[in-house]
Amino acid sequence: MSDKGYILKEADLHPLSIGAALLGTGGGGNPYIGFLRAREVFRQGATVPVIPLEVLTQDDWVGEVGGIGAPVVSAEKFEQGDEGTRALAAVESELGIEVAAMISGEIGGANAMEPVITAAKLGIGIVDGDGMGRAFPEVQMCTFFIYGGGVAPAAIADEKGNVVVYKHVIDMFWLERMARHTTVDMGATAMLALPPMRGDFVQKTAVPATVTQAVHIGRTVLKARKARKNVVETVVEETGAKLFFTGKITDIRRHLVGGFARGEAILSGLGDWAGSEAKIAIQNENLVLWVDGVPVLMVPDLIVNLELDTGEPLTTEVLRYGQRLAVIGLPAHDLLKTEKALEIIGPKAFGYPDLTYNPLEGKAK
């Protein structure tokens, strides 16, 4: 591959984890453990080239690994360290190939770190892009699958050395079902390698430059904190995010539906929004924002809750009565807005048949 791009260094990992948490739009899992693991590998001397999409060629294979399991378990039984490379090796040997670079299926949250760790161990690069540009609750809600990527061979590896390869799988739903089952047998945490993709396919289907975006957001947050500047304002000024509401949570309702945490938060306005009321619909991630009954932001655009004073991105499970939030929006990439994509990740797909996707650009003040 070419000499374009740049080298990801140890000092970039903390910003990357902060940016990934923000792009998680309330879900995606906590990147803290992944950040520490990546840092350990980098401290042993690894560096990882970040490869822009445009330099990928048809001859390159790109690998994808991600954590699968229950977040509460991964906070207790975290990785041995080589699960990702073992799962990847299994799909490589199945296809008789070697990948030239890694990519994240989901930049938002914990899975931003996994390709970095695997690439660092293998001495290869990561692609500057991912399959969502944010976080979504299900594996198939990824541009690679929306635009026809394969689902086999896939492989799942645990910390003990067990590797299960899925040679033939009819669709993503079956892969998800079988992989989840195996994950539980493996102790509820494992690493899943998805089928490696050709460089030209990744070039066409990946959400571009999201690693760079996450690092930039993280650096912006850290810089503002260090200078004791208002983090929310700085993020809005420097990252292309727009402020849609500031307010205090006055009610929060949650229920578990089919293994997913659904709910809604009601906010009463503060500052410029005093006197207004907002509602945020949640399913693992933030789905829709209404202000005074009008839907102003919705999936696939990114809806991010930042703690008003510290600018800390808040995951949906820590939202509670009395919290003061700034709700910011970031536009989703065009790949997430096609008719085909909206069928899977638009407001209707998440159970809002009355909402027609209305993109973010140019709507905020």
Binding site: A70, V73, R180, A261, V318, R320
Partner: protein, 515 residues
């Protein structure tokens, strides 16, 4: 039962004598470098004020920040070995991986990874390997370390491996201090391990400090038993506290909130503790402080302690009051303990919040004539600023729209005038020594945090099992069985796990059993 409550803070050592539920006397003394002298002084003063004989005291309860400060200041910490059982799992992150370098250096920073550990459902990750542990023991011995923290994966679900490893080390290294993580923390390996290591490195100091407390009590002629308060507002006896010094972390704010609940007789409220420099605001639920949901850092180390969720602002009785460009600014700078020489009313040259309160005529303190020049308009605007600062942090601590009362305690309580944000304000008697009262009334608790597969045993049975375990833990800690109440039940379904795996946390609390 006659009891003495003591709160050993960074600046003051407060003490109260209580007869049952009545506060007989309360005093403040200066904290001393050796701790013991300050405690002796406070004990003597409070006995004198209460006109009680030392022999009449049944129990002494002590809340202390000494161990927190030792970690924060990196002093008096023992060289410690951290042993984790879980291989091959968790090998990617060694013990103390996220510690500040200076603290790691201060305790020697020696970590070992060994086989052992369990899955979330109790299955074994790998069996324990005695030869491996004996090899580690040999290495620990050669490094001259005498305190070990043992952490096994999923030990909150089953701690057999930690116990087994503890026995192996105890046999191989006679006299060594052993801390098991399952005795201290809950699910979340790094945070629990961090807490266990911090506990282990405080074991030499705890021996010394507990001995100092014991001597102070004996010197004043008190024969009763003594206890230390934990971060959740409950007690541990001196022997237990010597083994688990880390459990005293954050007992200060807990004691003041518990004291506030007791003195006011209100169990559900917002508590505002106003000192000289800061105000701490938290919320009380059933007489106990609501706990923080996020990881709490102590001395730069992430832990998952049960810490009260307290919000602090720079507003106190010594806060500077400045008018710039027509706007009044209060705090965060403060004259602190120098208020007795620097505030206007005490002949100083700095305008403080206490001066404004005295000028308003609501409280009589010092020399009133020194603040006669303050205009009614200035006084009113300063009061409004103070109240809006308090309203802001009270709002943050509200958990529901229900109108809860606000209990105001601490030496700076005189700042509060009228309701805060429309909420009724209660200023109980003895508000200045609420923290020592909180220590005196502390109860005894037991807690469990386990993952149950509800598909196998059902929710009711799981909750009953957890309650039973929590109750037994409380009895083991010294609670009177007949007084035990379950104060907290939380069951959280774990997303992405089949079999309805649910994490259940239960806490039981009872009165101290004396005799």
């Amino acid at each position: 039962m006659i009891r003495i409550g003591i709160d050993v803070g960074g600046t003051n050592t407060d003490a109260v004598v209580m007869d049952g539920t009545t506060v007989i006397a309360g005093v403040k003394a200066a904290t001393t470098g050796d701790v013991m002298t300050g405690v002796v002084n406070a004990l003597k003063a409070v006995l004198e004020a209460s006109k009680m004989e030392a022999s009449a005291i049944d129990v002494v309860m002590i809340g202390t920040t000494h161990f927190t400060n030792a970690v924060v200041q990196r002093r008096d910490l023992a060289k410690t070995a951290a042993v984790r059982l879980g291989l091959p799992a968790t090998a990617s992150l060694p013990p103390m991986v996220d510690w500040p370098e200076d603290l790691k250096v201060a305790i020697g920073g020696v970590g070992y990874l060994a086989h052992g550990g369990n899955e979330f459902d109790g299955r074994v990750i790998s069996p324990i390997d005695e030869a491996e542990l004996l090899g580690i023991a040999e290495d620990i011995k050669s490094k001259g370390i005498n305190t070990i923290a043992i952490t096994s994966v999923f030990s909150p679900v089953t701690n057999d491996f930690e116990k087994q490893a503890g026995e192996i080390f105890a046999k191989a290294l006679p006299g060594v201090h052993i801390t098991l993580s399952s005795d201290i923390g809950r699910i979340g390996l790094l945070e629990r391990e961090n807490a266990a290591i911090m506990n282990a490195c405080l074991r030499d100091l705890s021996k010394h400090v507990i001995e100092a407390f014991r001597k102070a009590i004996t010197e004043t002629g008190i024969k009763g038993r003594f206890y230390l308060t934990q971060n959740d507002g409950t007690l541990m006896d001196a022997e237990f506290a010597e083994k688990f010094p880390v459990l005293t972390f954050a007992s200060g704010p807990t004691n003041s909130m518990r004291g506030a609940a007791f003195l006011s007789g209100v169990a559900d409220a917002i508590v505002v503790d106003i000192g000289g420099t800061t105000s701490d605001v938290g919320s009380l639920h059933k007489g106990f402080p609501r706990q923080a949901t996020v990881a709490v850092e102590v001395g730069g180390v992430r832990t998952n302690f049960r810490m009260p969720d307290v919000f602090s602002i720079g507003l106190g009785g010594g806060s500077h009051v400045v008018e710039t460009g027509g706007a009044i600014k209060v705090g965060p700078t403060s004259v602190g303990y120098r208020i007795v020489t620097e505030a206007l009313i005490f002949g100083g040259t700095t305008l403080t919040t206490s001066d404004v309160v005295v000028a308003s005529g609501r409280y009589d303190l010092g020399d009133k004539s020194k603040v006669a020049h303050l205009t009614p308009d200035f006084i009113a605007r300063t009061q409004a600023r103070i109240m809006s600062m308090l309203e802001d942090c009270v709002e943050r601590s509200r958990l529901s729209p229900d109108p809860l009362p606000v209990i105001v305690v601490g030496g700076g309580s005189i700042l509060v005038d009228g309701p805060i944000g429309g909420l009724e304000v209660i200023k109980p008697n003895h508000f200045a020594v609420a923290n020592a009262v909180g220590a005196a009334i502390a109860q005894v608790s037991g807690e469990v945090d386990r993952v149950y597969a509800l598909a196998e045993i059902g929710r009711d049975q799981a909750l009953a099992d957890a309650k039973e375990r929590a109750t037994e833990a409380a009895v083991a800690a010294g609670a009177l069985r007949s007084s035990i109440e379950i104060v907290d039940v939380e069951d959280v379904p774990l997303a992405y796990l089949p079999g309805n795996a649910t994490r259940v946390r239960v806490k039981a609390v009872g009165e101290l059993h004396v005799g």
